[in-house]
């Protein structure tokens, strides 16, 4: 060994190979941090829209407008699903009032933006305020009625909301002209960016909540209310919190829905009906009720898969109900055999792959002692 080589070995006492593995490790560690995962996810989502807009300007189709539109609505439904995952997966409260809560958001947006002409941020705050009131109300109901009964009561509540909204105004349309968003006049692209940002914020809040004392208290409450109470967890506090949060998420999604799609015919559309609540529940179940990425995947299967990727398949355009049939089949299969949903499947896959790799290595190099 020459003296210079010796010096360098002394100074940083790591070979270039070690350095490389260390930097890979640090990248891996950073990728495991949820926040950076969400930011990467957001960048991808925004890049897709930017590509699509670029294509529009150059008059070529890089990404179809219908694809982006379907992606936007899938992201809106994802907000609802994440809120519902907090309710079902963590607090163990089965609610079927989701559709009504989305309706509240949509109508708040309609009245604020169209009738009263206030800025969109006021619309969001107003929707949040209304949904906090409703969430507290449902939370109190959930203290008195539990389990399957609660699902039916919230279903009744959703019917009340739907009929009430319908009695207030049968069809709502928003004509976004005077609203300024991100310094430019509002259009579908800017609303899409807003949706991505709101979704990321919600994901971040949720993942922090899950890993905090609040999330653990909710899990304890799910597993046994009596045991949780014995450990000093206030049922009232956490049930109210769970309902308020999930109602807020759904109402935010309703506001975004109105800003993005701009028109709902309340009596005709299925948006505020039982079907939506069931679909959201299905999405959460298929994805795995305890994992945010799983829930996103489930929502994608329920809402995004067919309009985004299968819109050109002739068989499916001729038989639009086939995808409903398929999702129903999938829900039944998942509940029968994989109660943890897609998230559990991925986990199982990971374990199997790592076992396979280990076996292959053992075959090649012999067993390590």
């Amino acid at each position: 060994m020459t003296s210079t080589q010796f010096k360098s070995r002394l100074l940083c006492d790591k070979t270039p190979l070690e350095k490389e593995t260390e930097s890979i490790d640090s990248i891996k560690r950073a990728l495991k941090n949820p926040l950076s995962q969400y930011i990467i996810f957001g960048i991808i989502l925004i890049a897709l829209q930017a590509l699509s807009s670029l294509g529009d300007e150059l008059r070529i189709t890089i990404i179809k407008v219908s694809f982006m539109s379907a992606l936007g609505s899938t992201l809106i439904y994802s907000m609802v699903s994440i809120g519902f995952c907090l309710l079902l997966g963590y607090s163990g409260l089965a609610s079927l009032g989701t559709a009504g809560f989305i309706g509240i958001g949509a109508y708040c947006a309609f009245f604020c933006l169209q009738e009263w002409n206030v800025p969109y941020i006021v619309a969001i705050l107003f929707a949040l305020a209304v949904s906090i009131v409703i969430g507290v109300l449902v939370g109190f109901i959930s203290l008195r009625i539990e389990g399957i009964y609660l699902a039916i009561i919230t279903l009744g509540l959703a019917e009340i909301l739907r009929y009430a909204l319908q009695a207030i105004r049968a069809t709502i349309n928003i004509n976004l002209k005077n609203i300024v968003l991100f310094g430019t006049k509002i259009d579908k692209t800017t609303v899409y960016y807003l949706i991505v940002i709101v979704l990321l914020i919600l994901m971040w809040i949720t993942s922090n909540m899950i890993n905090s004392p609040t999330g653990r208290a909710m899990l304890a409450m799910k597993n046994s209310t009596s045991a949780a109470q014995a450990y000093g967890i206030s049922l009232m506090k956490y049930r109210l919190l769970a309902f308020v949060l999930s109602t807020c998420y759904a109402a935010l999604a309703g506001v975004m829905y109105m800003m993005y799609l701009r028109s709902v015919s309340t009596s005709m559309s299925t948006l505020f009906k039982l079907a939506t609540s069931l679909n959201i529940l299905g999405a959460v179940i298929i994805g795995g009720a305890k994992s945010i990425w799983g829930v996103l995947a489930g929502t994608f299967i329920m809402y995004g898969l067919s309009p985004m990727f299968l819109s050109d398949v002739k068989f499916l355009t001729e038989n639009p109900t086939f995808i409903t049939l398929f999702t129903g089949f999938l829900i039944i299969l998942v509940v029968m055999f994989y109660p943890g949903g897609l998230a559990q499947l991925v986990q199982l896959g990971k374990i199997k792959i790592s076992a396979f790799i280990k076996k292959a290595k053992e075959k090649k190099y012999g067993k390590s002692i």
């Binding site: 699902a151 009744g156 009596s226 069931l278 049939l325 039944i332 509940v335 055999f337």
Partner: protein
């Protein structure tokens, strides 16, 4: 028209809804008692039955009673399929899992109906009512009642009576009652709970098919989910009456249309109420349920740790 005439005709007008709702509620209760789950697919299973009746009558010119028999058979088969093929083969199926499976069944059947039935593509079809809707029995100068709704009420009263007699007197009924109070112990005492549960699903399917066929006689079959309102009301009726007994939910199913009719009656004098009718009905129900969470006819629950 006097106040009494108005009241009498609105109350009589709710007879068809009562007849349909009672059958649907009985079906939901039977399944809840034996399988410990709420069957969200009840509405769609019933819809399959009524679509089959419609299909046979429209395209194959089959007389109505044979059509209804076929519809009932379809309901029974689907009920048996859910219980025997799905519930028993699931590896991790618990109460909530069963509930979610029935929700999956809703999607599955909603997807299947347009493939199988040509009539599902037609928009807004009425199934022929059993007796023409314009035939009336005149009770007094201002009150008349459709013969059709009397027929419905008669059918539903007969069916409910038969089911209750079966529940109270037959061996199956004894089995259902013991399975309802404790499935494991019933099994240990030599009751074949599998057969009991499967029979309950079959009867629930049949009840559903009859109720949907009746409902389609005075309401549009606009799409495969046309029974959803009835189903939601049936659930609420069950909770209103209390799942603890069999007669409670049935009485609940009579009360809900009556509340609706009473609000409709008040709306004759206060016209603004008519837009808010459904809202008021559900608010009243919700308040009643919050007042008595165990149901109007249920016992007080004792919570054990």
């Amino acid at each position: 028209m006097t106040v009494f005439d108005n009241l009498a005709s609105t109350l009589l007008g709710s007879l068809p809804s009562i007849s349909v709702l009672v059958l649907a509620t009985l079906a939901v209760t039977l399944i809840f008692k034996t399988s410990y789950t709420t069957n969200f697919a009840q509405g769609v299973i019933s819809a399959v039955g009524s679509y089959l009746v419609m299909e046979l009558m429209l395209f194959y010119r089959v007389p109505m009673y044979i059509g209804i028999l076929a519809g009932i058979t379809a309901g029974i088969l689907i009920g048996l399929f859910i219980d025997i093929v799905i519930f028993r083969n699931g590896r991790y199926v618990n109460a909530i899992g069963k509930q979610i499976i029935t929700m999956g069944m809703v999607s599955l059947l909603v997807g299947v109906i347009p493939f199988v039935f040509k009539t599902a593509g037609l928009e807004a079809v009425y199934l022929m009512p059993m007796v023409a809707l314009n035939k009336y029995v005149v009770l007094s100068k201002n009150i008349a009642i459709q013969i059709n709704s009397l027929v419905y009420f008669g059918i539903s009263a007969v069916i409910v009576t038969v089911v209750f007699l079966l529940l109270n007197l037959s061996k199956w009924g004894l089995g259902v009652r013991s399975t309802a109070s404790n499935e494991q112990v019933a099994g240990m005492l030599g009751i074949n709970t599998y057969v009991i549960t499967a029979a309950s699903w079959a009867i629930a399917g049949a009840l559903g098919a009859v109720s949907a066929t009746m409902y389609a006689g005075f309401n549009m079959m606009s799409n495969s989910l046309f029974m959803t309102t009835i189903q939601v009301n049936a659930f609420l009726a069950c909770i209103l009456g209390g799942f603890a007994t069999f007669y409670g939910p049935v009485l609940g199913a009579v009360i809900i249309p009556l509340i609706s009719a009473l609000i409709g009656f008040t709306a004759i004098y206060i016209p603004t109420l008519s837009t808010w009718r459904e809202v008021l009905v559900y608010v009243v129900l919700l308040l009643l349920i919050l007042w008595k969470p165990q149901g109007l006819f249920g016992p007080r629950a004792v919570r054990k740790v």
